[in-house]
């Protein structure tokens, strides 16, 4: 590595070993996250990076943060991400082909330029003092020391952050909550509607999905006796998501037109 | 002097008139016209009354008022007049009623009601008075810029042809100059802060010690703004368009009064605030002025439209005024100031008659007219008279000023004066050619039925003619007011008239 200008002090050997083992992994994971086609992979890699960072935190006498990192970030935040990914289609792959002209080269140049400049600059920095270490600050333990700060010096932002949480909740409600304007039709209402409808074709209920002999999942439309796939047999949600599979391959016999006429 | 706040009163009267007009019903155009006329006439009378109170031999600013306006920046509502400003205020208040009366039906072609037209005119009158009366640079700038707005709407709202394009060009061009001046004003403000406290008082500012480089830049900021306003070649191109599009009355105010702010500013601000820079730039400016004289005249000859022609003649005339100013002699300065006044009236006469002709004929193209002298003799003779005034025929007021400018310039810059003198030959051409085409010759088809001036129009133009004539033979009332100020200005900026060469030789 480059000779550091900030000679802030040596760390213990175990920490060094840990660092040299995990740091490259974290960077590689980050690159992987950047380059993987599937969003889920990216999410998993991000989770890994976060865990790595948690370890780094702990190694740097930030035990509390390390734990919080795993619980809040890796545990909660990343789960939220994955949850949403599921919602919007877990399989959907991201084409890595650049569509905005000129962006790719600029991005590569920017990446190299930005990273290079940052590393180079860090190499020049001097602080005027060595690494102090957290031995004194953490004398009574990391958590008590943090809480001391949090509840006295930083109590104001701590209080204010609550407003942020309310905002977030309120925001999620505004965008997601959907109150019913009309009472949800009961089974009885639906039944009456079916029979009083124009056609009695579906009075007995919609067909179930699946071609039972060959494929039996909810994403395959049922085959009607005449061999056509019944659109009504799959959930509208799946259709909307585009996750419906063609049922043609699962037909037992190819029905030609002539045969059908006979 | 009585303790009447003359200038404030004078300035506020048209504004009150505007408010009054605003409360009149929109449909009653006649009431608006009458109210506007009454207001402007009243203001004119008040203006003359004020002028009678003016002490001619007192070189200090008079009718001075000063109230703190924005103390944070040392800005005062400070007004006062010297001889030059008084003359220009008189010009403004005298022209306003004439414009209202002459353009009785001008508002009819507009986008908005006549009421709006007169409100704008009255607001403009307030601003015109304010801009000449202000003795605080900031206040001056406020009026300088704010008066663009009513003019803009007057051109764009009531003009003809490409009125909105012309209005925009006018506004942007003027704003550009104004903003350059703003930069200079800011610099002055900062410099004044460094030298004993922020102020915008013209007199105090003129005592600042400013390095010559800075002076040059600040001078340019002011000068370009004024050169655009005046308009001086090559900053003139907005004027023909604006004059072409505006109604005659608006054009009269635009060329007659507003543009004078430029030349007035050169005297009041460029000269007194930056005497050294003025000396540095004088040769360049004289060249521009001489170019304006000749260039404007040639272009006037080349025009096919009355309004554009008059606009270009004005460019030529403004060249004379600028030349007179930067000659830095008493004759040049007094001549230039008198020229501003006279040009106001001679242009008014030209524009108003051209406007009447155009509104009767439905066109302002010279080629659409012919033989008017036989169809509408009074109108034709008035136009002829206006033309004679424009070419500075001796005996008419413009001659006195033009000659003073030339003679004042000659004593210091003979070459400029000699070249400028060619302008008087070209003036004959640019006036006589259109006169021949439109007034003389056989009656052009389409001109047979034109009606001659009516009584209202005659009443409107009569004072203009009277002033042009009387001042031609007896300019002393104005010169006596102007001279002490001019002498004072030149002496404080360190200019003395060149002595006759025989005296120089004698020494």
């Amino acid at each position: 590595m480059i000779n550091l200008a900030i000679e802030v002090g040596k760390t213990s050997t175990p920490e060094a070993v840990l660092f040299w083992f995990l740091a490259p992994l974290a960077v590689i994971a980050a690159l992987g996250m950047l380059l993987s086609k599937k969003a889920v992979h990216s999410a998993i890699l991000l989770a890994w990076i976060m865990i790595t960072l948690a370890i780094f935190y702990i190694a740097q006498d930030a035990v509390f943060l390390g734990i919080v990192q795993i619980v809040v970030y890796t545990g909660a935040v990343m789960m939220l991400f994955l949850f949403i990914l599921m919602l919007v289609g877990v399989d959907s792959a991201d084409s890595l082909k650049e569509t905005i002209p000129g962006l790719r080269p600029i991005a590569i140049t920017a990446a190299i330029g930005f990273g290079g400049l940052m590393l180079s600059l860090l190499g020049r920095a001097t602080l005027g003092h060595g690494m102090v270490g957290l031995a004194d600050a953490n004398a009574e333990g990391n958590v008590p020391a943090l809480s001391q700060l949090l509840f006295s010096r930083y109590v104001w932002p701590f209080e204010v952050v609550s407003a942020l949480l309310i905002t977030a909740a309120l925001g999620a409600m505004v965008l997601a909550h959907n109150h019913r304007l009309i009472a949800r039709p009961t089974q009885r209402d639906l039944s009456i509607a079916r029979f009083r409808g124009e056609s009695l074709a579906n009075a007995a209920g919609l067909p179930n999905p699946g071609v039972y002999a060959l494929h039996n999942a909810v994403d395959v439309p049922a085959l009607l006796p005449d061999g056509t796939a019944s659109e009504a047999s799959v959930s509208a949600m799946l259709k909307a998501r585009g996750d419906v599979i063609d049922s043609k391959p699962f037909q037992l016999i190819e029905l030609t037109d002539e045969e059908g006429e006979k | 002097m009585s303790n009447v706040n003359w200038l404030t009163t004078l300035g506020i009267l048209p504004l009150l008139g505007a408010v009054f007009v605003a409360f009149l019903p929109k449909t009653n155009a006649l009431a608006a016209k009458r109210a506007a006329l009454a207001t402007t006439v009243f203001v004119a009378i008040a203006g003359i009354a004020m002028a009678t109170q003016f002490q001619r031999d007192n070189v200090d600013l008079q009718f001075v008022e000063s109230h703190s306006w924005i103390p944070t920046f040392g800005i005062n509502y400070a007004v006062g007049v010297d001889g030059i400003a008084l003359v220009l205020i008189l010009l403004s208040v005298l022209l306003a009623p004439i414009v209202v009366l002459a353009g009785w039906n001008e508002a009819s072609g507009g986008r908005w009601s006549a009421k709006t037209f007169y409100i704008l005119i009255l607001i403009l009158e307030t601003m015109m008075i304010g801009v000449f009366a202000a003795t605080d640079v900031f206040l001056f700038y406020v009026f300088f810029e704010a008066m663009l707005v009513p003019v803009y709407f007057l051109i764009g709202g009531f003009g003809t042809g490409k009125r909105s394009a012309a209005a925009v060009k006018f506004l942007l061009y003027s704003l550009f100059g104004g903003l350059l001046m703003l930069a200079s004003i800011i610099a002055l403000y900062v410099i004044s802060g460094e030298q004993g406290g922020h102020t915008f008082d013209t007199v105090t500012l003129s005592h600042l010690q400013i390095s010559s480089t800075t002076q040059n830049f600040l001078f340019l900021g002011f000068f370009i703004a004024f050169a655009i306003k005046a308009p001086l070649w090559p900053f003139h191109t907005w004027l023909p368009d604006a004059a072409d599009a505006a109604t005659p009355g608006t054009s009269v105010l635009l060329l007659g009064v507003l543009d004078k702010v430029g030349t007035f500013g050169m005297i009041r601000y460029c000269l007194t605030l930056f005497p050294d820079a003025t000396k540095t730039f004088t040769p360049v400016i004289l060249v521009l002025a001489v170019i304006s004289i000749i260039y404007g005249a040639f272009l006037a000859i080349g025009q096919t439209d009355f309004k554009r022609l008059i606009a270009f003649t004005s460019i030529s005339h403004f060249g004379f005024i600028t030349m007179g100013i930067f000659a830095m002699t008493t004759q040049g300065h007094s001549g230039a100031t008198l020229y501003m006044f006279n040009h106001g009236f001679s242009t008014a006469a030209l524009f108003l008659v051209a406007g009447w002709m155009a509104s009767r004929r439905g066109s302002s193209k010279i080629s659409d007219f012919g033989g008017l002298q036989r169809v509408t003799p009074v109108m034709a003779w008035v136009f002829f008279f206006a033309g004679m005034s424009s070419l500075a025929l001796p005996g008419l007021s413009s001659f006195v000023s033009e000659f003073l400018v030339l003679v004042g310039t000659y004593t210091r810059y003979p070459v400029a004066a000699i070249v400028g003198t060619f302008g008087i030959v070209l003036a004959a051409l640019y006036i006589l050619i259109p006169i021949q085409r439109s007034l003389h010759g056989p009656i052009m088809p389409g001109n047979e039925g034109l009606t001659d001036l009516n009584l209202r129009e005659k009443i409107a133009i009569a004072p203009v003619i009277a002033i042009i004539l009387v001042l031609g033979f007896y300019p002393s009332p104005l010169l006596n007011v102007i001279n002490p100020t001019v002498t004072h200005n030149l002496s404080v900026t360190g200019h003395t008239d060149p002595a006759p060469s025989i005296e120089k030789a004698g020494k």
Partner: protein, 629 residues
């Protein structure tokens, strides 16, 4: 000495003019009478002043009247002041006298014109302006009158301006005059810058202190002014066209008075020219050139008025020549001016009378033998003719011979050249004037059948007769005992005259007479016996053709000034639109263009926006990287 009446000389006709113009049609009935009365009134005042003047000693004759302080700025002080001295009184009497006669003549001449009132208004305006010109006590006052007569001349030339050529003629006259005026205003400027004053008295007083260079400049500029007003070379071209005006106008303005203003100016400025020999020489040369020029043009004209106009030009050439000869010549220049005022005005009125009787026909080829039908006109015209060609004892003989004589006596080559030119001019004058008389009054009739030539009414011939009397007698009166010369002496500061240096007066007279006879004889030979074609023959020599085209004066002006001017105008119009305004529009377009171009950076893709942010951040980091090196 002061007089309180001088102002009324100007005020009366000015009042008449203003009243007639403002009163409108209401004044049609009595307008001409009022105009004439005003002019006559001025004449009476002039006579009164003259008698007063006669009663005083020679040095005390000049009177002044200060009206008010006209322009006063710094050291530039000009009073509205009038001065009547021996020189101006000559003019005053000429102007008001001849002017009144012509007013009277016009009553009849213009009786059928609907705008007669306006005509009289303009005539009065002219009288006023011309009187101001000669009465002003400073160059600037003179200038007012100078341009005033120009204006009146313009208005009167263009009196029938519904005819486009007449309107053009008027404009041409004004513009040419303006060129001259430019000279006058420059002269005033130089005078002020050099001497610190523009009044005649002041300039006269200080002229001695000024450098010759400055005085020469003033002199040349004054000469330019004179050439413009007096139709001298090279600004002579307008005079021929000016005949578009009604004939009384031609008589009054373009023969007797206004065009002689240049002579007045030079004579008035004698103190400058006497101190600036170069300028004075220029004056003489210009005069000599013009007298020949006009004479040559006069030989080729078929239009009676244009022929007379050319003659006027030529005769004024004599005057200018005289004035250019310095102290020896001023008096004779003025004398010729006065005599010319009589005989030329008379001839013009005669020409007007002929036209009056010939339905406004002006082409002499369509006259012939009119003497029988218009005896009075013929007689008065004939007397004028004898005067102009210099037959003793008619007026022209006295004045013209004196000029020729003085020219010869100017000394050296200068004297011989100028004298010879003047002599030659006399011969040509005799030729073309004889031609005019023969073509008009003698020979067989060539006019159309419907024309009924008749004598003009008394109101017209009476002035002609009076002027004819002047043509006969004035020369003798002026020279009798050197009366005019002595009269003018205090004004023009005569130096001792070196008489008889080269040629004795008698020799000159004989020489001139011989040449005149030659000229007359040639004309008689050429025109009396021959049939005169109704249309000017075209198979003539190139010289004739050039002479008919006024020696190419218009072609020259057109090519050099008009075409150039039009070219410059067109070029500047294009320049203004494309370059000056184009630059402005170009900047505007540049800004708009860059706006439209930069607008495209807003692609709508959030990622490219992020890119901007990133690039911005990189920029900042890079800047830091550089500064912390």
């Amino acid at each position: 000495m002061t007089s309180n009446y001088l102002v009324y000389l100007i005020a009366l006709p000015l009042f008449g003019s203003a009243l007639l113009l403002l009163a409108g049609r209401k004044a049609d009935k009595w307008g001409h009478l009022l105009g004439t009365a005003m002019s006559g009134g001025a004449f009476v005042i002039g006579l009164y002043e003259f008698t007063q003047m006669l009663g005083r000693s020679n040095e005390q004759r000049a009177v002044t009247q200060k009206l008010f302080n006209w322009i006063s700025v710094g050291s530039f002080q000009v009073d509205a002041g009038l001065m009547l001295d021996q020189l101006s009184i000559c003019f005053v009497l000429l102007i008001t006298g001849v002017g009144t006669l012509i007013h009277i003549y016009s009553i009849a001449y213009m009786s059928h014109d609907l705008d007669r009132r306006r005509f009289f208004a303009f005539l009065n305006l002219f009288i006023a302006a011309m009187l101001l010109l000669v009465l002003g006590d400073s160059y600037l006052n003179l200038y007012v009158g100078w341009e005033g007569v120009g204006l009146a001349s313009y208005l009167l030339i263009g009196f029938w301006n519904q005819k486009p050529t007449y309107a053009t003629a008027a404009k041409k006259a004004f513009v040419a005059n303006r060129v001259g005026d430019m000279g006058l205003s420059l002269a005033i400027m130089i005078s002020f810058a050099t001497l610190g004053t523009v009044s005649f008295a002041g300039v006269k007083e200080h002229a001695g202190q000024a450098s010759t260079g400055a005085l020469t400049a003033i002199g040349i500029m004054l000469l330019v002014a004179a050439t413009g007003k007096s139709a001298q070379f090279p600004l002579q071209a307008w005079l021929g066209d000016a005949m578009a005006g009604p004939t009384p106008v031609s008589a009054l303005i373009h023969a007797a008075t206004m065009v002689t203003a240049g002579v007045y100016l030079i004579t008035r400025s004698n103190f400058i020219f006497d101190a600036a020999p170069t300028a004075q020489l220029c004056v003489a040369i210009i005069g000599a050139i013009t007298l020949l020029f006009g004479a040559v043009v006069g030989t080729a004209k078929d239009d009676i008025k244009k022929a007379l106009a050319a003659s006027t030009m030529s005769q004024i050439g004599y005057m200018i020549l005289g004035a250019g000869l310095g102290p020896a010549g001023y008096a004779f220049a003025i004398m010729h001016l006065l005599t010319h005022g009589f005989f030329k005005a008379g001839m013009f009125l005669g020409a007007g009378s002929v036209m009056h009787g010939m339905d406004d026909e002006v082409n002499m080829r369509r006259y012939g033998g009119l003497g029988k039908f218009m005896p009075i006109t013929f007689a008065t015209f004939g007397l004028g003719y004898l005067a102009i060609i210099g037959v003793p004892p008619f007026a022209g003989f006295y004045s013209k011979d004196k000029i020729i004589e003085v020219a010869f006596n100017a000394g050296g080559i200068k004297g011989i050249t100028l004298g010879s030119a003047a002599l030659l001019g006399a011969a040509i004058t005799a030729f073309y004037m004889t031609r005019v008389v023969i073509l008009t009054f003698v020979g067989n009739k060539r006019w159309a059948e419907k024309a009924h030539p008749h004598e003009s009414p008394a109101l017209m011939w009476l002035p002609m007769v009076l002027l004819a009397v002047g043509s006969v007698a004035s020369g003798f009166i002026f020279t009798h005992g050197n009366s005019l010369k002595n009269w003018l002496a205090p004004v023009v500061e005569q130096s001792p005259v070196h008489e008889g240096e080269l040629l004795k007066p008698a020799v000159v007279s004989v020489l001139a007479l011989v040449l005149v006879i030659l000229g007359v004889g040639l004309a008689v030979l050429k025109y009396v016996r021959k049939d005169i074609p109704l249309v000017a023959p075209s198979d003539v020599s190139i010289f004739t053709r050039i002479a008919r085209r006024d020696l190419l004066q218009d072609d020259f002006n057109e090519a050099l000034f008009m075409k150039t001017g039009q070219g410059i105008t067109r070029a500047l119009v294009v320049t203004d639109k494309s370059i000056v305004d184009g630059a402005v529009r170009g900047v505007a377009r540049l800004v708009r263009g860059s706006g439209s171009a930069l607008r495209l950076t807003q692609t709508g893709f959030v990622r490219s926006y992020a890119m901007w942010i990133l690039v911005g951040a990189i920029g900042l980091v890079a800047a830091i990287w550089v500064v912390t090196l």
